[in-house]
């Protein structure tokens, strides 16, 4: 089952079971610092394992991100007609650590047995 916040993509991919949470990208499983809300969301999502009875069904959860839907108008619209802009990061082939300290920790750790590569880079 897929828990998704991109309805049109999920409908196109057609996973066997899907639950849709209408939150902005980067919040597929909830809000920061709201563990109780996130538990409710996940419990409701998992319940769909038992209620979805036909392949390809998408259940929409009732949660809303905020009182108004203003964020929806802005999503993926960094681009304006006058100044087209790709809001994403450059696609480099070196590891992109969250912080410098992580790079040091990874370098000092034994060879990563829990990192699995499927292609030679």
């Amino acid at each position: 089952m897929s828990l998704s916040s991109a309805y049109s993509i999920t409908r196109s991919v057609r996973p066997p079971r899907a639950v849709f949470l209408d939150f902005p990208l980067g919040h597929t499983a909830g809000k920061p610092g709201e563990p109780e809300l996130n538990r409710d969301i996940l419990a409701d999502a998992l319940a769909a394992f038992e209620t979805i009875d036909q392949p390809g069904m998408i259940v929409t959860l009732p949660y809303v991100w905020s009182d108004d839907d203003g964020w929806k108008g802005r999503a993926l619209r960094e681009t304006s007609a006058s100044a087209p802009q790709d809001g994403r990061n450059a696609r480099t082939a070196t590891p992109q650590y969250q912080c410098e300290d992580d790079a040091v920790a990874a370098a000092e750790a034994p060879a990563c047995a829990s990192c699995v590569w499927l292609e030679s880079s």
């Binding site: 089952m1 897929s2 309805y7 920061p32 998992l46 392949p55 087209p84 990061n89 480099t92 292609e119």
Partner: protein, 164 residues
Amino acid sequence: MTTRNEPVDYIERTREQYAALGYPAYRWVESREPTPWKSLEKPLSQSRVAIVASGGVYKREQIAFHYRDDTSFRIIDSDTPNADLRATHFAYDLTDARRDPSCVFPLDTLRHLAKGGVIGETAPRAFSFMGGIYSTRKVRELLAPAIAERLIADQVDLALFVPV
């Protein structure tokens, strides 16, 4: 009562964005074959549940993902605390995921549901990769089977995929 807008159509938005940038159109996955289906063998409250997520989460001491079609994945033990989880991804705003990894990787959330009896148990390992792999063939033929093989080895009953 506030009127709710329709969900954001990211396929359409991406089409607009790519056109404005002069990029060739992005080809989204469109599944045409019948959707696979398997009925549950036991109730949710007795099931072992695993998380598979594509938000670019890794664990401290692991090697981070890179941003050019990285098809690798990370195995994250299910007892890993949120404080040891990191997020990296080329295409979404990471601010909240870095503040609270549960936003995109609900492992801590799942542990609480296991404790509360909502699910039977958390699978011993979760699996994490970074989406935005432009080759769907590589995902289908390399990445998905490699993760599926481990889910089977872990005797997982239910897998929850959490994309970003």
